[in-house]
Symmetry: D2
Subunit: 92 residues, 4 copies
């Protein structure tokens, strides 16, 4: 999990930005905004999602592989399988 | 812009799903959910954003290049520059 | 198709770079290079592939939708379906 | 590094396929193949590169975080920074 209050706050701020972008997109659609403008807003929302992904991935790696936790071989293997399941969605 | 009421409704349904996913992620962070679970939810939200992108891109192409609009060479060149500016964010 | 000799030359230069990167990667694997180094080389090769994609996509859009070709509605619809089939691989 | 002969062989097979795809693309360009066909071949080459990335990433994770290596906190922190530098290219 996200360890510090600062990390949680950063992630929640990103999520609220994404929600704001989604709400703005809804208004833009209702107002008949051109598709080019809608696409640029969606690209920005996708960028915000990728930023959130990078932040949580770093916390995940520190949680899973960091500090001085002694990893048994089995535990490590399971961790790595879990990590690859997530990363494979990016290697398509 | 998104032409038909059905297209608008479909896009807004996708946006509401993204907002729901962002709200659920915020609750999960507050509840101390593990990072692996958070990452899977973010991957799902990214997938929903990509789905919205594909839908609006198709409308954009039909608006811009479809039907029987006669394209002057200059008009076409401007359209294509605009299209590439959007697509380049995906070819990084 | 790629219209001008310059465009063809540019695309072929990119392809030869990709081939060179693949050959260098093979040598690095044989030499026992660490995975972090291999990953950075693969990221560079992926970037070169994306660069080639952007170049050919622009030519494709100009070929398909540019200049003063008069598009019949059916012709346009087929073009757009074809374009979306290619783009959807990026919106996953 | 890629540990087993089998892993090396698998990665090299993937690289040779990518080289073959690049060579085929060069021939297709010289032969004046249409851009839609070229784009489909580039998408396939990109898929092969992503497949190679996934394979080497998994070996990298096992090398770096796997088995029974005792991680000192500093060593772990450096490993994770290195891992994130690679992954960030995917979270753009």
């Amino acid at each position: 999990m996200l360890q510090s209050p600062e990390e949680k706050k950063r992630a929640i701020t990103r999520l609220r930005r994404i929600r704001g972008q989604a709400e703005a997109l809804e208004r833009a659609i209702e107002a008949g905004t051109g598709c080019a403008g809608l696409l640029q807003q969606i690209v920005a929302m996708r960028g915000a999602t990728n930023g959130l992904m990078a932040q949580v991935m770093e916390s995940y790696l520190r949680d899973t592989y960091g500090r001085d936790r002694q990893h048994s071989p089995d535990e490590s293997a399971r961790d790595i399988d879990e990590t690859m399941n997530i990363l494979r969605t990016y290697f398509k």
